[in-house]
Amino acid sequence: MEFIVIIISAIFVNNVVLMQFLGICPFLGVSKKVSTAVGMTGAVTFVMILATIVTYLIQHYILNPYGIGFMQTISFILVIASLVQLVEIILKKVSPALYQALGVFLPLITTNCAILGVAIMTIQKDYNLLEAVVFSGASAIGFGLALVLFAGLREHLDLVELPKGIKGTPAALIVAGLLAMAFMGFSGIV
């Protein structure tokens, strides 16, 4: 039951992108086509779950026992940066097909604030390891849901006649606002 609440809340009610404003850069950057949005979602899900597990272990077995909690930001970002590199190298050797599909998105993930944000939020919310994994997975799905929905909307937006000043990013932002408004309908269900 607890897990269902975490999942619903992370995907719909507190959607990472539309409600918490994490990962806006890829949300605006790689949402021009549905296929690239799906690829990005795959890469983000993979790295987000891995990063949350590793940062959880670091926080509870290194930072807390030695009382060096102030090193959190530095150690987390280093872990995420090296994890992304590691995943890239391993994927290249083990599964070239998957590397082909996700490859271009991987370097972009280091600066995706959703990854670091979810890792820090997991610590703040005081989840245990299993809850942390569920939370990060659900957050990644929420990210993917928003990204794919938005990419679908943007594909149609390209065909619409708009005033010059509002074409491009302003129009995309306004559409994102409407999407966020739709997601507000979920508030209160958990």
Binding site: Q20, L28, I77, T169
Partner: protein, 194 residues
Amino acid sequence: MTNKDIFLRGFFKENAVFALLLGMCPTLGVTSSATNGLGMGLATTFVLIMSNLVISLVSSFIPDKVKIPSFIVIIASFVTMVDLLMAGYVPALHEQLGVFIPLIVVNCVVLGRAEAFASKNKMVPSIIDGVSMGLGFAMALTMLGAIREFFGSGKMFGVTLFNETYGMLVFVLAPGAFIALGYLIAFINRVRKV
């Protein structure tokens, strides 16, 4: 390029938010009031100036292969400093900005300037670049925060201008951030062209 050119470019011509569309997460996330926007903008400005200063001094000693990781460590140290300083001196603001303070590390503006400007230039221009980029970012955040606060709750920097019941709540909530920024960028595009 003179120092004045560098300043104007960072502050207006290549404004991080309006022209380059960088650092969107804090731009949307913390601007529910003008004070929050200003606080976040100044915190980012401090990190930008200090990281530009240090990186312009040490970049010639750093091998190319580990350039980005070293930059990230330098930036993260200053972010940690800001985080602790704000928790100590302005706890209320620190509480409001929450997770977005550690997230200055992954703000593309900071790493972008380190890589594109500070690593290739001397100390003084790098500091000016940091100041101008940071203040431009702070200006954008304060503008957006003021607009959202005004329409959402009838206040400006916490001072009540009209009764809150006439405010449009949606501007303070998440959708308002996207919509207000969309129209603000459209407006700035229009002014820029004239």
